[in-house]
């Protein structure tokens, strides 16, 4: 229920530049994810927002008002930490009610509000346990409840699922998304897991060494990345070097790749003749069956059964390798010669980048 504007945020630790001009924004009720590899500055950005760190430069505003001068304890944001940061000497109920107690709420009000939020996150019955006596998933929910009970303007979540196992992660991820949408709280969410980011965000900021490489919707990030780094980080990807021959319409380009010529969508700023790379997601590739329009040919070099699907790697004649996914029971044998069909509407051309 608040708009957030972060402009050109900079932060140095001694000599090390951790943030080098980060700009992101959230509209009211949006969930914005900061996605990036370890050390790229995600937590630093969040900690500046929370007020735990003082930025060296830039502006942060909530609802149009700068918060730079507001100390952490008056910003009124909810923060959920990676390792939960539950107070080990307080029961679950005391943890959740702590913020209310600080606000001098009456005992009965605290009881009802704690009770309500606990049933919201499905923790009823655990009031009197200590944090060490409940499971990781439950701890995570306590941390969430503790932040939510104060009805924060803005929710900041720093890798809230990192310590959960795969199955719990899924469950809590949906819980967070549901609660955030129900209550309409604006949220910033830090993760280095691309599928997590894709699944729950309204907007994703892919970060790279203290900068934002791309800030867009999940779909755009995945399908129309502005550089190889983004494509690489947001999912499995095949890259083929190619020559761009000529523009053929707004944002389209004709290219020559692996002996074939194709018309594909491209990054708008790309100029014909520039060295470029073609992004082919595994799911836009298919092994050819009879009579199809084969784009590439190659030999299967690796395959693995993954349950819901099979993973194959195919070496092309010119040395490139394409990874693709097939139905779990498709007959793939290492060494077979195969043809590959490309879904051209999902090929994407980017300027050649350093990885």
């Amino acid at each position: 229920m608040a708009t957030v504007d972060v402009k050109n945020l900079c932060k140095r630790y001694d000599d090390f530049v951790a943030l080098d001009g980060v700009s992101i924004a959230a509209r009211s009720g949006e969930l914005v994810t900061l996605l990036g590899p370890s050390g790229c500055g995600k937590s630093t950005t969040l900690r500046c927002l929370a007020g735990f760190l003082e930025p060296d430069g830039g502006e942060m505003a909530v609802d149009g008002q700068s918060i730079l001068a507001t100390p952490s304890n008056r910003r009124g944001f909810g923060v959920v930490f990676q390792n939960y940061a539950l107070f080990p000497h307080m029961t679950v109920a005391e943890n959740i009610g702590y913020g209310l107690r600080l606000r001098k709420c009456s005992g009965s009000e605290i009881t009802t509000r704690v009770h309500d939020v606990m049933s919201l996150v499905k923790l009823t019955g655990l009031e009197h346990r200590m944090p060490r006596e409940i499971s990781g998933g439950q701890q995570q929910r306590v941390a969430l409840a503790r932040a939510l009970v104060l009805k924060p303007k803005l929710l900041l979540l720093d890798e809230p699922l990192a310590n959960l196992d795969a199955r719990l992660r899924d469950e809590v991820r949906w819980l967070i998304r549901d609660l955030q949408q129900q209550s309409g709280i604006t949220a910033f969410y830090v993760t280095h897991d691309q599928s997590e980011a894709m699944a729950i965000s309204d907007m994703v900021a892919v970060m790279k060494k203290g900068r934002v490489a791309q800030f867009a919707t999940p779909r755009e990030i995945y399908q129309k990345p502005v550089e190889r780094y983004v494509a690489d980080f947001t999912g499995e990807a095949n890259f083929l070097s190619c020559r761009s021959l000529e523009a053929c319409g707004e944002g389209r380009m004709r290219i020559s790749v692996g002996g074939a010529e194709l018309d594909v969508d491209c990054v708008p700023s790309l100029e014909p003749g520039e060295a470029a790379e073609l992004l082919l997601r595994p799911e836009s590739l298919q092994l050819a069956t009879l009579g199809e329009d084969v784009t590439f040919r190659g030999r299967i070099v690796k395959s693995a059964f993954l349950g819901a699907s099979q993973h194959c790697e195919i070496a092309l004649a010119d040395g490139g390798v394409l990874k693709l996914t097939t139905a779990p029971n498709a007959p793939v044998r290492i060494g077979d010669e195969v043809g590959i069909v490309v879904d051209r509407s999902h090929a994407w051309l980017m300027p050649e980048g350093t990885k």
């Binding site: 304890n73 910003r75 930490f81 107070f87 600080l102 606000r103 503790r146």
Partner: protein, 270 residues
């Protein structure tokens, strides 16, 4: 542990030898104390172990001796004040030390443990001159300052160790929930470092209760601490009363430890 235990299963003789060694070492730790306690109950006239019969006569004698009882009372008083003051100052210093990082933190740590690293004697003599210079010579306050100084590092080290166990994210979580620094300290940090604080206070007290050289030089007019009184006693009389006095200090220490156990749980305190 499980790895080691499997190895035990396979090489029992070594395990047995080790167990014997451990028992011997613990006996070594306990022997002088057990002897004193035993000797204090002797019905005979001489200090000896095993005691000759059982009697409480030496305790009666102890409580009849004003020099020893006064020493005990002064030691208790100075020790209690030392424990309280030292713990407060050390808690503050530990919080400060936590905020200092790297090289500066190292120097601070060194400075705080200085009284432990300089021979007590040097400090004691230096303090003696100094206290007379500032008008605190031969006063209880001067003695008190000496005790606080010498006990400080123990409390500081214990509290700092406890503080290190508190992740900084708890402070931040508390701030993000709207707590001021003081509220965070009172409601989050302090309860969590309590075992270390209590342990520090106990260490400070015990150390103060035991200081000899410093007390010898700085003791106030008309006052003697228990170790000094005991030393004097042993100097002129070699009677089981001393064992009774020593047993009383042991009992006081045990009460202190039991108190920690009740307040914070001993395992957490170390």
């Amino acid at each position: 542990m499980s790895g080691a235990s499997t190895m035990f299963v396979q090489q029992r003789p070594v395990g047995l030898g080790f167990a014997l060694l451990i028992v011997l070492l613990y006996v070594f730790l306990l022997v002088p104390l057990v002897t004193i306690v035993g000797a204090s109950f002797t019905a005979g006239l001489m200090i000896e172990f095993p005691p000759r019969g059982f009697s409480l006569q030496w305790y009666r004698e102890f409580f009849g001796r004003r020099d020893l009882v006064d020493g005990l009372l002064l030691s208790l008083r100075v020790g209690a004040i030392t424990a309280i003051v030292t713990t407060i100052v050390a808690t503050m210093a530990a919080l400060c030390g936590q905020a200092l990082s790297g090289r500066k933190g190292g120097w601070f740590q060194l400075a705080m443990t200085l009284p432990l690293l300089v021979p007590e004697l040097l400090t004691a003599v230096g303090l003696l001159f100094f206290l007379f210079k500032i008008g605190l010579g031969k006063t209880v306050l001067g003695l008190q300052m000496g005790h606080i100084l010498m006990s400080f590092p123990y409390a500081y080290v214990s509290i700092t160790a406890a503080l290190r166990q508190v992740p900084s994210s708890l402070d931040e979580a508390s701030a993000s929930l709207g707590a001021t620094h003081w509220q965070t300290f009172r409601m989050v940090t302090l309860p969590l470092i309590m075992p270390g604080v209590v342990m520090g206070a106990i260490f400070a007290f015990i150390n103060s209760f035991d200081l000899y050289t410093i007390s010898l030089l700085l003791k106030p007019l008309g006052g003697n601490t228990l170790p000094l009184a005991l030393f004097d006693f042993l100097t002129y009389e070699f009677k089981p009363t001393a064992a009774a006095a020593a047993t009383i200090s042991i009992v006081l220490s045990v009460i202190g430890v039991a108190l920690v156990q009740r307040l914070v749980g001993l395992q957490r305190a170390f």
